[in-house]
């Protein structure tokens, strides 16, 4: 059983559509991070959220940390083909990061 559950596991959408990816847990985290990973490469950090209720924006990407610091969401507006990849959330527990299984996003032109 994953400590962090991500949904959906797979998402295939057309360019220009909006989407939301969820990261849920029954545990509280000190911080939560989102990474993006491309085939053959390691994950790359997108954002870190620390405060419950915090919202961060990175161009067309909006990240939100739940009020209770147990969950997070990633919303992409007007998806582009360059957004294709594996999106991973990771929660900080005991000075280490615990990762979810990821959401594979495919954006078709």
């Amino acid at each position: 059983t994953q400590l962090l559950e991500q949904s959906p596991q797979f998402l295939s959408i057309q360019e220009g559509e909006n989407l939301t990816v969820y990261c849920n847990s029954s545990s509280v985290f000190s911080s939560l991070q989102w990474y993006r990973q491309e085939p053959g490469e390691g994950p790359v950090l997108l954002v870190t959220v620390v405060t419950g209720g915090e919202v961060k924006k990175l161009k067309r990407l909006t990240f939100q940390f739940g009020d209770a610091r147990k969950d997070s969401s990633l919303h992409i507006t007007a998806a582009q083909t360059g957004d294709t990849g594996l999106y991973l959330c990771a929660g900080e527990r005991g000075n280490k990061l615990v990762f979810g299984a990821g959401t594979i996003l495919r954006v078709k032109s």
């Binding site: 994953q2 911080s31 390691g42 950090l45 620390v50 990771a90 280490k96 990061l97 615990v98």
Partner: protein, 114 residues
């Protein structure tokens, strides 16, 4: 080159053989980590290190050994490889504990045990 470098990128080995995966970082980050990535499981922590000569087990340490004699190097050894250890292995480093500033990952080593 600056950054975090893993070698080899690809490795095929036979069951029972010992194999070592290398990880080198140039930032002098205190914390280093080894994860394995498998479909459906995401990234699972194998071992981590808070400083030279300080290492500790993660979630899935069985069958693996690590050492950290120098801050910049953190090799991972499979003492007697098994097919279940076929995976993609990622090394990561961080300036602080808990990764509040994020982890920096290498490009990974794809290991196949036949």
């Amino acid at each position: 080159d600056a950054g975090i470098t893993q070698s080899p990128r690809y490795k095929i080995t036979e069951t029972g053989r010992q194999v070592t995966l290398m990880c080198h970082q140039t930032w002098s980050h205190s914390y280093m980590f080894w994860y394995r990535q498998d479909l459906g499981h995401g990234l699972r922590l194998i071992y981590y290190s808070a400083a030279a000569d300080i290492t500790d087990k993660g979630e899935v340490p069985d069958g693996y050994v690590v050492s950290r004699s120098k801050t910049e190097n953190f090799p991972l050894t499979l003492e007697s490889a098994t097919r279940s250890q076929t995976s993609v292995y990622f090394c990561a480093s961080s300036e602080v504990a808990g990764g509040a500033y994020g982890y920096t990952f290498g490009s990974g080593t794809r290991l196949t045990v036949v």
